[in-house]
Symmetry: C2
Subunit: 212 residues, 2 copies
Amino acid sequence: MSNVSIIGVGNMARAIGARALEGGNSVELIGRDQAKADALARDLGSGATTRAFGSAPSGDIVILAVLYASAVPIVRQYGDALAGKIIVDMANAFAPGATGLLTPDGSSAAEQIADVAPADAHVVKAFNTLFGHVLEAGSNQRRRLDVFLAGDDAPAKQAVSSFIDSLELHPLDAGPLTMARSLEHAGLLMMGLAGNGVGHYNFALAITDLTI
Amino acid sequence: MSNVSIIGVGNMARAIGARALEGGNSVELIGRDQAKADALARDLGSGATTRAFGSAPSGDIVILAVLYASAVPIVRQYGDALAGKIIVDMANAFAPGATGLLTPDGSSAAEQIADVAPADAHVVKAFNTLFGHVLEAGSNQRRRLDVFLAGDDAPAKQAVSSFIDSLELHPLDAGPLTMARSLEHAGLLMMGLAGNGVGHYNFALAITDLTI
């Protein structure tokens, strides 16, 4: 089991928090709005706790379940309170209308976060190809959805992969943190598919493994 | 059925040509090396023809089954011989080691091809998330693999989607041609997955549709 802190109180925090508790992990919820964090902790039950926004998280894995616009500022604000932590970034930096990405060329939300994180923290990109409602619905349907991840530190990726396993999801390591650029494009691709050939948002990106 | 011309005599040309003929389409093969085109046509049988490299293709759909380094020069060289054609680009512009893309930021191989194609030709990105050997093996296993596509002309995308259907593959429109950037990143993502979490190249990118 893992000790995780989730910064954010929206639908991704709820979906991952619920699965994390079902999987036997300890979950600490952190929100700028303490009342919302308290309410989410009550909803989730199973020993979920809260912590005041801005104080050092207790989890070894700190999951940023916030919008792109907030992610980099929050990591900068936390500063050394994230020293030694594994920081999981799931941001999709969509331009208006999901026609492109807001991140500068040759970068990614994950790399921007790594740039402002403490030197001994390890950023892992993950979960950005799962819509929050799919993560919730998938839990009921017990589908073992693929979760793509990327990062530069092998032990950190192993820890995040173990955590993903505990959520009854299937971790798939895509390589170094620069691969977050391709993962964020994959998030954009999903928006394009939803608005065109797929026609709805009730799907996840996956691989078809022909050896299975 | 479609009339397709395939420029290229490698494994993607072979795999798509074989499936196209099985699906009742007419297939014309075009290679710089006429002897290789003739040999491939003989191997494929089923009425596959060849045409001299550089002369106007007969197919309504012209499939570029060549490496990225050749794709743009070939389309430039063909010039008006591709007027009115649907040009299918499947190029992956991987940097050495598949650690990034060779295409300039804010562009894609497909958009570069569109830039040099005749004004009334329509470029559709497709097939770049399918390894050639997977396309061949998948044919034997009768797996209906997903084929992601992107382009700006709706009738052209419909024609390519019908062709993909005839190959017993599943077309999924991702949106306008700018989405080719995300599709080419998806190709890079697959290389990252192959070298890391998946550990082999016998897979295809897909969606898990939770409504099915």
